[in-house]
Each structure stands twice: as C-alpha cells, then as structure tokens.
C-alpha cells in the first residue's frame, strides 16, 4: 500500500515510531531495543555531566547520531525558562534543531503546564528550533501550538509511564482532523494494541519509552511496537468498516442446502 512519507521538519522518515532511551538496564539493551523497534527518531534527556565518574559511557556512543535523529527533551523542566535553557544547551551539542518540548505542571500526573509550554514554544520557534511539544489532548491548545510554528503536536494518550492507553480517542480524532502538522501520540501507551489504536485513529506517529523499556522483555516489545505501528497505519490507510449494531452475514444467504 502506498503511503505518504512521514515528514518532520522537512525530513522524511520511514518509521512512524519514536522511542525513548530511559529506564533500560544498560546502554546495550537500549541499543538493541531501538534497533528492534525500527525507530529512526530517538529521544534523549539533557543532564549534567557526571563530574566525579569521568569514565562513564556516553549514550551517544551506543545511539549513533549519524544513524538516528536525536530528539533531546526538556523532561524535568517546570518553567518555560528552564525548558528554553535546556533546548539551547541541547542544540549546542550538535545534533540539530529538533527538540521535544515538555514543561511539566504537576509532579504526580506529569501533565504539561499548557501556558508555560506555549510561552516556551514561542521563544524556541523564533530561535529557529523545530519544536515538538508534549501537550494535553486538547484540540484548542494543539491548534495554538501549530499556529505558533511547532513542526508537530504531541498530545498525550494518558499520563507518562502509566500504560493506560488511549484515554480520549474522541479528542485525538478532533486534533487529527484539525491539524496541518503531524500529530504524534506521546505518552500513555501500554502495549501494542494501544499503539495500533493511535495509528488507526489517524495519528502520524507514536512516541513511547516506558511501554518498551518497562516490559519484561523489552527487545520483544520493541518488535511488537514496530509491527503495531505499521499495522495500525496500514489499517488506517485501508479504511476500516463502519461499526454497526447488528450482524452482516459474511457468507451468501442463497444456495443453502434444504
């Protein structure tokens, strides 16, 4: 089946799955899981260099920036200012302009601070960043972020790391219908069917971390997610049947033996 390329910030990608690099046992497992997931875009966090343990391995020695599009995040930032500083630092590492903007508003739910996210997005877009904001599944906010110039909107499906799946498919459907930029479900996916559901709704991509890294067998789950995102995408393009209350026989009603 013919598909339009998945483009982000003018760059085409084959895989519609974006994966995180947190919560893995070690960098080797991170690397294997990413490979198995088929993802080409990989999120990373920005943190202080460990001054006391200078021989620590570096994530980028395992996740080659020449092979993967590195997507630095602003996880852990609670203000627009912190998020902006983090993005500026991330860009100076030298992996491009793409950033996953998240400004957290609440520690327990990790729901975004919508006002602060919009404020930070405005500044970052002006500074030439390709901003991909993690945001509430609110159609109005997603439109605002699109108007500001974000290259994608990334509504959450459920709280980060919760594995609750797509909590509000109707909001997502509205966001997808309105969006002129790619819609990527970010956060909340628990298993393969959740990822497939997001894609069947018409999302352009899915971003996940915990669902893979936290599985009993992360490598196997990475493969499941790879297949689920692809299956969901093909099902979306294929066009599902209408839901109906009563049966519609699949076998001919004529020619029955008497």
């Amino acid at each position: 089946m013919e598909d339009t390329p998945f483009e982000l910030g003018g760059k085409p990608f084959r895989s519609r799955l974006i994966v995180g690099t947190g919560k893995y046992k070690d960098f080797a497992e991170t690397k294997n899981a990413i490979e198995m997931s088929g993802a080409e875009i990989v999120t990373v966090a920005v943190r202080r260099v460990n001054i006391t343990d200078r021989n620590k391995e570096n994530l980028l020695d395992f996740v080659d920036p020449r092979r993967y599009q590195i997507l630095p995040n602003t996880a852990g930032c609670y203000t627009a200012d912190e998020a902006i500083r983090t993005c500026r630092l991330a860009r100076e590492v030298g992996v491009g302009e793409m950033v996953k903007l998240e400004v957290i508003g609440d520690q327990a739910t990790l729901f975004p601070d919508v006002a602060a996210t919009i404020e930070a997005a405005k500044v970052l877009v002006k500074e030439g960043f390709k901003v991909m904001p993690y945001i509430t599944d609110d159609p109005v906010t997603c439109l605002k972020l699109q108007e500001i110039g974000c290259i994608a909107v990334m509504p959450l499906a459920a709280p980060i790391g919760s594995g609750l799946g797509i909590r509000n498919p109707f909001n997502l459907a509205i966001i997808i219908e309105q969006a002129k930029v790619p819609v990527i479900v970010d956060a909340g996916v628990g298993t393969a069917s959740d990822a497939a559901e997001a894609m069947e709704l018409g999302c352009d991509g899915v971003l996940m971390n915990t669902a893979i890294a936290g599985a009993k067998d992360p490598i196997a789950m990475a493969r499941a997610m790879n297949l689920a995102v692809e299956a969901g995408r093909i099902a979306y393009l294929a066009g599902r049947i209408e839901r109906r209350l009563y049966a519609s026989a699949s076998s001919p009603l004529t020619g029955l033996i008497g």
Binding site: G20, T21, G22, K23, Y24, T30, T43, V44, A45, V46, R47, R48, V49, I51, R54, N55, N58, L59, L60, I70, P72, N73, A75, R85, R88, L89, A90, R91, E92, V93, G94, I160, G161, A187, L207, M208, N209, T210
Partner: protein
C-alpha cells in the same frame, strides 16, 4: 579535583563548588573532564557557550558553569 591554594579560583561547576588552580579556558575545562567535545554543551552564567568560542572563553572566579550531556530519557 584541584587542591585549594591561596590562588585557587572558586567556581560553581554543575551545581557544586569547584576550585581551579588557575584561570583556564572552557576548552581546557572540558578536556579536564575527559568528555568528548561532540558529546557535551556548556553554559557559562546561564548563557550557552558556542563550541567555536571554547578556546577563547576564560573561566573567572565566581563563574557558574554547567556542562551537560545526553542521558536516557523519553
């Protein structure tokens, strides 16, 4: 970690007090941390230092430095 001497320069490095034996450039600081240049970024008093300026940017007493890299995250 440099020995504290009378002439040592007190800075804040990644949130911790840190003593330099003498004024050094950002480049020398990064080299002393044994990290690859292509893996880090540096902020000096809340402003990002472009890599092209590492050689010429001298760290002074009281400076607040952040040296960051990428770690696992989602």
């Amino acid at each position: 970690m440099a020995e504290k001497t009378l002439k040592s320069i007190a800075i804040t490095l990644n949130g911790e007090p840190h003593a330099l034996e003498r004024e050094i450039s950002v480049m020398q600081l990064v080299e002393s941390l044994k990290v690859k240049l292509s893996r880090v970024a540096v902020e000096l008093n809340r402003e990002v230092v472009p890599k092209a300026n590492y050689e010429d940017t001298i760290i002074r007493a009281g400076d607040v430095i952040e040296v960051i890299n990428f770690v696992g995250g989602g």
